[in-house]
Amino acid sequence: MSPPVAQNTAALAEALERHRAILDTAVDGIITIDDRGIIESFNHAAERMFGYAADEVIGHNIRLLMPQPYRRDHDQYIENYLSTGQARIIGIGREVEGLRKDGTVFPMDLAVGAVHLPERLLFTGITRDISDRKAVEAEGRRRLNDLAHTSRLTALGEMATGLAHEVNQPLTAIISHASACLRMLGSGHADEALMRESLQQIARQGERAGEVIKRLRGFVRKGEMAFREDDLNTVVRDVLWLVGHEIKAAQIEVDLQLEDNLPAAQMDRVQIEQVVFNLVRNAIEAMAQTPAAQRRLTLYTSSAQWREAPAIRFCVQDSGPGFGGLDPARLFDAYFTTKPDGLGQGLSICRSIIETHDGHIAAEVSDSGSARLQFVLPQVQLT
């Protein structure tokens, strides 16, 4: 070996060593694979993240580090890229799942770059374990869920009188009919037609009471956060049923304008129900000092646009005195309240819920000076 070659070799070795050192000090996992998906390098951070030593994975297909469905489809991803040149992930980065040696799956951010060498193609993947961030987010959602649930129970407690009435009416009817039947039987003048009518009523009213309880249970259930496609109009109707007694007692005229065939939205139904419920109840309370003949509650749903994407809108308008000159935007601050005995939690919870849904909630003064609150939810939740 002539000195220059030896020198070059030494320099090359040093450069490689330096690069490896740099890769190994990186916080993020850095993995390179060839165009068949075979792992060529695996830095320290990647070793820590996946639980494999570099020499355990080098030479193996990168699929090893993935749970399904990525594991099944990964070869196809590379092939698609090679044949079409269309990047689905390269240069973009996205949230995916990794599979550790011990079999646990964890969320990670993945950025992929293509390295075009003269002879061949390499891919570098930079991975970051986001388990902690995800856990914090999940905890935040769980707390919001708890808070929403507590506030719902409180509200139901306040409405106990009206709700008790909903159950008491069918019970009263049942007891009356049943007692009437017993008396008729006892008197020896049991009119079969009358008794039949009473028994039918008893059965019907029993079902009615059961239905009331079923619906109430729906409102107090403590759901896991579950986003699925749901119909906002149904949510609005259910809430209207729940507050029906308050509306009746306050002699409020309801103007319900629900858009036919309103597109579905991704939502946690229990939480959106909570928002609609809070907004409607606020509107009812806002009209406490309004003369009965002028109490009017307008509820409508419609298709809308939000951040240049298709969305759905819910809007509630009352005929009360508005916000008394206060800045409507402040309504959503925690602990801000205009009610003498309010805690200022309701609207703040509403905003958190709507923002968790990637939506937007706003308050404004209507043309007639009353309060109008509305929220939009995206029609399709982007992942």
């Binding site: 009188t161 009435h165 009416q169 019970l171 009817a173 007891i175 007692s179 009437a180 008729m184 009213q205």
Partner: protein, 209 residues
């Protein structure tokens, strides 16, 4: 005032509750008439019809308590039993202060309700009996002449003929004559009876208001 069969009036916006009460009351041999809202009943109610009223406290339009006030204004004095779905204490206090006969929570025990209804009917019938008697007594009092009436007023104050004669500036003999005619017309044998009659006639007037 003619005597009529007492009727239990029911005002409740819930058809199922109305039909239940109608059957229950019929099975207990009571006549009932049911109304879905307060205004309907207010139209139909007359001061003459005896009975009692079962009134649900929570209703759209005219509330149960408002109806009670309007009935009193119309001279309908039926005893009112307020029905409520929930022990709402301030509402109960308000209702009782305005003279409700009773306040019963739904759902109720049928026998308890019927007992209260019977008590209310009894109270109504007694009131009406007193009013009828008072009216009859007032008719009899109206048969007295102005002078006889004047003498009667003095008599019930326990004044002797001599004192009355001096006050009215007429002879004791004339007072004796008026007094005899007064006692005859009112069918009283003693001043004590006369006092009792006048009191009953006047208490009836109060109860009718």
């Amino acid at each position: 005032m003619t005597q009529q069969t007492p009727v239990v009036f029911v005002v409740d916006d819930d058809e199922a509750v109305r039909s239940g009460l109608r059957m229950l009351l019929a099975s207990a041999g009571l006549d009932s008439r049911c109304y879905g809202n307060a205004l309907e009943f207010l139209e139909a109610a007359t001061p003459e019809q005896g009975g009692c009223l079962l009134l649900d406290v929570r209703m759209p339009g005219l509330s149960g308590l408002d109806l009670h006030e309007r009935l009193i204004a119309k001279g309908v004095t039926l005893p009112v039993i307020i029905l409520t779905g929930h022990g709402d204490v301030p509402m109960a206090v308000r209702a009782m202060k305005r003279g409700a006969f009773d306040f019963i929570q739904k759902p109720f025990n049928d026998q308890f309700l019927l007992d209260r209804i019977n008590a209310a009917l009894q109270r109504d019938s007694e009131c009406r009996g007193q009013q009828r008697e008072a009216a009859a007594l007032r008719d009899r009092l109206a048969r007295l002449t102005t002078r006889e009436h004047e003498v009667m007023r003095h008599l019930v104050r326990g004044e002797a003929n001599k004192v009355i004669a001096a006050e009215l500036g007429i002879s004791e003999r004339t007072i004796e004559l008026h007094r005899a005619r007064c006692m005859e017309k009112l069918d009283c044998r003693s001043v004590a009876q006369l006092v009792h009659l006048v009191l009953r006639a006047e208490s009836g007037t109060d109860a009718g208001q």
